[in-house]
Amino acid sequence: MSGPVVMKSGDVPRYAPGERVTHWIVAITFVLLALSGLAFFHPAFWSLTAVLGGGVWSRILHPYVGVVMFVFFGLMALKYWKDNLIQPYDRAWQKRLPDILNNNDHGLPEIDKYNIGQKQLFLAWVVSMVLLLVSGVVMWRDVASFPVPVIRIASVVHAIAAVVMILGFIVHVYSAIFWVRGSMRAMTRGTVTHGWAKHHHPLWYRRVTGGGK
């Protein structure tokens, strides 16, 4: 599906079609889950149950959608696991975070496919996802029957993990769509420009293009 493939011309391939499909399944299920979950979480968001067809449908579908998300998220996690191991240069890169936030990217340490922010987000999501699955199953009365005290703890864990995931999602979406221009096409078209790749992920760029400059 993907790999260090050098395009004959044009842009740098970042995500193969399969990866993109997986991502968007996760993204869609996540949005559905977040919205319906928020509806259960706080009365202010109750009207969001509409996205899954009302309160009862939300209650019925939410866990199934969650399982779907978990499966596809799991595929992604396995696939990108190695790419998300934090390396020494990531630390150096992280020290420049204020500059980065100020869009002052000059002289940043060279990094691979993902920066440390992405890696930390990945880690947070993986942890959250596991917690959500476990606590979600505990709370899922259609399939499981746990003691009430366990369900109570699970409910809190589920809520916290979900909030962590949503916060990460906000960062992720903002960065990908609004902040770092040129990122979005990696998940829509599958490619990024050479400039984008060289600028943001030079190590990766050299790896996939065979070191060309």
Binding site: P43, G55, R152, S155, V156, A159, L167
Partner: protein
């Protein structure tokens, strides 16, 4: 829909004022005098008949408790506890279990569905099944392990304190049927007075620790017990000594709600203002890097 004729003081998943113009409603209570209860289960049958419930015909599992637990079809059950006293004699403590109608109901606090659980001004905590989504949060919220989710329709059910009867001036069906007067119903203040009288009688009969069970941890209840052993409610088939809404539920449905909402809101605002103040990282053209 909640009963039109009753004021609503609390409504699940609702942050605005529920209907509450009726000012003359008085808090009510059901008083269960364990020292007068013979465990005849007439209340269970009355409950089944008034509420049109028919639980499954079970089996005998070695005790008199049948059905052996609360279910969506059994909103009240008698729990029989055999207690051996230090002197070798025994006591057979029979407690009618069911919804306690807490002043501070954990189920209502946990419920995510607006109006699925209401608390009337008279103190009755009622499930409005129409609005119930079947999530079971009320089960987790209840300090007494009372609500049950139906396998048939996935709605939560429990004793309504016969809110439909009470709303038209009748007593609950179990009260109506109780042959020994062990279950009484009336204004809560009257019930507390009556309970004090009963406690006095029990003390005269040698139950020095007799007491009214009206636990403060949930703000008091609208179903109260007169216990011979008020110092040890656990003896009565595990009646909680000091029930309160679980801290987990309090966090989940308390602090977590505003904090999480705030965090999410701040994150979104932060992103927005970052964009407004810093703008995007421009797309870099070919060869433009560094």
């Amino acid at each position: 829909m909640a009963l039109q004729s009753l004021n609503v003081t609390k409504r699940s998943a609702t942050t605005t004022q529920p209907p509450s113009v009726r000012t003359a409603e008085e808090p009510v209570a059901k008083l269960i005098d364990v020292s007068k209860c013979i465990g005849c289960k007439a209340c269970q049958v009355a409950c089944m008949q008034w509420n049109d419930l028919r639980d499954e015909v079970g089996t005998n599992v070695g005790v008199y408790d049948n059905p052996s637990n609360l279910t969506d079809q059994s909103w009240t059950v008698m729990r029989f506890a055999e207690y051996s006293k230090p002197d070798g004699d025994m006591e057979w403590l029979i407690r009618k279990d069911g919804c306690m109608h807490c002043e501070d109901p954990g189920c209502l606090k946990a419920c995510p569905s607006p109006g699925a659980i209401v608390k009337y001004a008279n103190g009755i905590v009622d499930f409005i099944s129409d609005n119930c989504i079947g999530c079971g949060y009320c089960v987790a919220g209840c300090p007494f392990d009372v609500p049950r989710i139906s396998k048939k329709d996935s709605k939560a059910y429990k004793c309504t304190l016969c809110s439909d009867r009470v709303a038209v001036g009748l007593e609950p069906a179990c009260v109506k049927t109780c042959p020994t007067g062990a279950i009484q119903y009336g204004a809560k203040t009257d019930m507390v007075l009556r309970a004090e009288k009963r406690v006095g009688d029990l003390k005269e009969r040698g139950f020095q620790k007799a007491a009214l069970y009206n636990p403060a941890g949930v703000g008091g209840t609208h179903v109260m017990y007169v216990l011979q052993h008020g110092d040890d409610p656990e003896r009565y088939s595990g009646l909680p000594s000091n029930p309160s809404i679980s801290p987990w539920v309090s966090v989940w449905k308390g602090a977590a709600k505003p904090l999480a909402s705030l965090a999410i809101g701040l994150a979104m605002l932060g992103a927005f203002f970052h964009y407004v103040t810093r703008g995007p990282k421009d797309e870099h053209a070919e060869g433009e890097s560094k």
